[in-house]
Subunit: 335 residues, 2 copies
């Protein structure tokens, strides 16, 4: 563990007794080089353990091989799966991924966005933490292409990839009504978050479409996992009329289930439960939880494709992609 500089292209050139330009050409396979020199360069690279400095390469060639991704919280499996899929897509195109998270805090989001911009990525793929998405200005000011995912911000001219939240929630709520539920509680993180707002709108629309006899209410529980269950529990304390809960978030689903268990409320007999986001463990809960499956990997693929498209045609019209979700019925919503 001796502390020294990493070898540079100059070190390689000296050892191989060629010019730096030749080393560069050999490694990039850009111009044809005499076989003997190629051999000398390769063995010098090998013995020095040389790896080209990507930042220096970008500066000179003006070609970045890095993309940035900004998500609210990597500890949330939805975002983690998104980043995982995005990294795969980026790798396929030969790009590295710089990951940053905002912690659902608009101020931190701005800071992190600035940091990403500082790396001069080819583009940034972001899941904003609020509707204002002021962080966005940092990307546009620096002329870095931006793809917005999952939560559509107020001021939309940008490439957007999201799920059809409205329709998914509409279908989910309709299913509950059709199963006989007349009073449904939507458990939201924060209604001002666009995707959550869209889901709520879908529920309201379903209620309106179904007719006068159904009623819905909403409960906002925030995005801090620990705080959710007490809020739900306390709400259940006050009300007894609802017969179904529709959780609009994976974390909220966990909290709902916990609150119901804690109070000994039988699912689905006394209370049905439907949640946004589907995970394998939902097959194994007692009872298994009905869920709306979001196509996370596809979202990442589309986001990457949107960025690639933007690079090809920088001036083309921003495109909005809406992917559809799938309702997975299990026992928590009865038969």
């Amino acid at each position: 563990l001796i502390h020294r500089r990493s070898p540079s292209i100059r070190d390689v050139a000296e050892r191989a007794e060629v010019s730096m330009a030749t080393v560069s050409n050999v490694l990039a396979g850009r111009r044809s080089v005499a076989p003997e020199l190629v051999e000398r360069v390769h063995s010098a690279v090998e013995s020095l353990g040389y790896v080209a400095d990507i930042a220096a390469r970008r500066m000179r060639s003006n070609q970045s091989t890095i993309a940035g991704v900004l998500v609210p919280d990597l500890a949330n499996p939805f975002f983690a799966l998104f980043v995982a899929a995005l990294e795969k897509a980026a790798l396929r195109s030969g790009f590295d991924l710089l990951v940053a998270s905002s912690g659902e805090d608009p101020e931190l989001e701005k800071t992190r966005m600035r940091a990403l911009v500082g790396w001069r990525p080819i583009g940034i793929i972001a899941i904003p933490c609020d509707t204002d998405f002021e962080a966005r200005q940092h990307a546009t000011a620096a002329a870095v292409p931006l793809v917005v995912v999952d939560r559509v911000p107020n001021d939309p001219p940008a490439d957007v990839v999201a799920v059809d939240n409205y329709k998914a929630a509409f279908d989910g709520a309709m299913m509950l009504f059709q199963k006989g539920h007349r009073a449904v509680l939507a458990v939201a993180s924060d209604l001002r978050t666009t995707n959550i707002g869209e889901r709520h709108a879908g529920i309201l629309a379903a209620a309106a479409a179904f007719g006068d006899e159904v009623e819905t209410s909403v409960l906002e529980v925030g995005s801090r996992p620990d705080a959710m269950r007490p809020i739900i529990s306390e709400w259940l304390n006050r009300t007894t009329t609802i017969t179904a809960m529709f959780s609009l978030t994976n974390l909220a689903t966990l909290a709902c289930f916990g609150a119901l268990m804690e109070r000994g409320i039988l699912v689905p007999k006394q209370m049905a439960l439907l949640g946004f986001d589907d995970y394998e463990w939902m097959n194994f809960t007692g009872p298994p939880i009905s869920a709306i499956r979001q196509p996370v990997s596809e979202m990442a693929e589309h986001a990457w494709a949107a960025l690639a498209g933007r690079l090809r045609e920088p001036l083309s019209q921003p495109r909005v992609t809406r992917l559809s979700c799938q309702l997975v019925l299990r026992r928590s919503t009865g038969n």
Copy 2:
């Protein structure tokens, strides 16, 4: 969305009518500058949306503000939580995090390691995908400090942060024996992975310590989630003597539970289940699953601290940190 270059420090200097050095000094707060010039610089920065090019800064100042992390798979919540915690730690020290994943493939691991090294990070924190960990050479050759986490490689002189797998598994197995189980199946991903091997060794040691009357067996199910359940299911088909399963991986726990459910085997009555890794949903399965909780965030904190320590004292003796796990008893292991 007009395509243009991001503004450089030269653009700022021209607009503020000062030298580039002054801009640099103002932004870094390095030397004292006349208030009027400070003002001019700030307003130029503001109006241009200037963000310094971090790569250029590093090249000149020889001070990197990026660290790399290499994990097997971001889609696995264990690794995702690790990266999430690591990013927080890095952010606190003002570092960005470059994330790469190896997909449990040693060849890809090498490629990704080389890519990380290409960014000239201050260090790389890696969870190797196998015992050989050949990828490691790329870091050492380039003189990039390495912290190895979770899975201790064969050739140990490096800073290491891991969990006391042996003791945790020993305690877990002992608990099963004490509850009366005499034939326990360990469900491993791959015994050659060091942490898994250590866990298995702990189980064997517990069996030896408990006495002749207990017997253990092992089943390797690999690391591809889809393949696990069929393997377990088929194994259950052939054997009926065991009364407890000890899953050595979070993914395997899910597969075990699935296989047991699928075959209608009652837990814990016909089969007890204990798993490595604890998640909130394990409270909600039917029945709730007993688990060994790994301190993921602490591992990340320690890994970051190890890297920081290595930077302070590059030549100090490599340190091995072992954190302890916690046994969380739930109904899947009976009363």
